[in-house]
């Protein structure tokens, strides 16, 4: 019986342009020898494509995240190649899994140790709302202790959903005003979480 293997009998040399993605230029003034745009847009573009995630994985969502980082789904394609395991270097806190009430101060401390600008992604039902653990010992969503930018639903979410969540974070990063972190609105948000 023939093995279900196919050989590429007409191989083509790959074109480098197929393997590299280019982002569109942000809108601006363009002419011969110059291009002018807003500083904010360039910063957003640079930040968006070089997010360093900090995985805070406590349970099965962390396993899905490992798949997301693996070669099959490969979060690195979206500019998040480099996971940092120190909060001081990272931009994106990814909370994946059940956070018990006893763990809550640690999550908050990790968030506080991150430098601005920082984003938070809550992955899965437990991190978003406590999930099935509607119980005296489980934090009912990490948004009780830190502000969250993007929630990924699912129990656990598939790697595609994680990619989608990261892309939505990228959209936020891309479109964020450089002044947002100094705005009274943002300070009021942090104050509502007792963060100075």
């Amino acid at each position: 019986m023939a093995r279900p293997v196919r050989f590429n009998v007409n191989p083509q040399n790959p074109k480098i342009s197929d393997a590299i993605g280019f982002t569109d230029l942000p809108e601006g003034l363009e002419g011969e020898g110059f291009y002018a745009t807003k500083f904010e847009k360039i910063v957003g573009l640079a930040r968006k494509n070089s997010i360093w995630p900090l995985p805070f994985a406590t349970s099965c969502c962390g396993i899905e995240f490992m798949a997301t980082m693996g070669s099959h789904y490969d979060l690195a394609r979206f500019g998040s190649e480099r996971l940092g395991f120190t909060p001081r270097q990272c931009d994106l806190l990814m909370v994946m899994g059940t956070i018990a009430k006893k763990m809550a101060p640690i999550v908050k401390q990790v968030y506080l140790q991150m430098a601005e600008p920082r984003w938070v992604l809550a992955m899965g039902a437990c991190a978003s709302s406590g999930g099935i653990f509607d119980s005296y010992s489980v934090l009912q969503g990490i948004d009780q202790i830190i502000p969250v930018d993007v929630y990924i639903p699912g129990c656990p979410p598939r790697p595609e959903a994680v990619l989608d969540g990261v892309i939505r974070i990228q959209d936020l990063v891309h479109n964020e005003s450089l002044r947002r972190r100094n705005s009274p609105h943002y300070k009021a948000l942090l104050n509502s979480y007792d963060i100075q």
Partner: protein, 172 residues
């Protein structure tokens, strides 16, 4: 010599007489009860006796029976004789208003964390325990979550729809 359930019963009756009462023995595992102030004497006897040799404390746990007036909380000791591979279960009952029980930490080192856990979840006050504070729940918790007057569910959240969790008004 083989240690039978009957033999342990006879020895306990001989030593403690009427203070011992025997409960049902599910799966032929001896299960008995004494007044709560006798717990250390009974445990010491079972530990020291040259034949019984119950020197391994497997577990301490508690049960809340809200319907039994004056005997609401049960503390259960699971003991094991490692040489002869015999297990027994020993229960004491205490009223919920006065959950003071002598600590077994002097006899078994392993009782230390087990009694802290039992305190944490049921609020049993182990008199003589060296460090009786919460071990598993957050320190700020102000109730004993496994007692049945408290609901299991977290009460801080208002956006969870009870209908979705099978305990809404339409569920019988």
């Amino acid at each position: 010599m083989e240690i039978t359930t009957q033999y342990i019963q006879d020895r306990l009756l001989e030593k403690f007489g009427k203070e011992i009462s025997f409960l049902l023995d599910p799966y032929e595992m001896l299960n008995f009860e004494t007044p709560k102030d006798k717990n250390l004497k009974v445990l010491q006897f079972l530990f020291d006796d040259e034949i019984l040799r119950f020197r391994f404390l497997i577990d301490i746990c508690a049960v809340h029976y809200p319907d039994q007036k004056g005997r609401e909380l049960a503390v259960v000791y699971h003991l094991h004789n490692l040489q002869d591979n015999v297990r027994i279960r020993y229960k004491i009952f205490t009223p919920i208003e006065n959950p003071d029980i002598f600590s077994a930490t002097g006899l078994y080192q392993s009782a230390n964390w087990m009694e802290r856990e039992t305190y944490d979840f049921f609020g049993i006050n182990f008199v003589g325990h060296p460090n009786l504070k919460r071990i598993q729940n957050v320190d700020e918790m102000d109730y004993f979550p496994m007692r049945k007057e408290y609901p299991m569910e977290d009460q801080t959240r208002i956006d969870k729809d009870d209908e979705m969790f099978g305990r809404g008004s339409s569920v019988l």
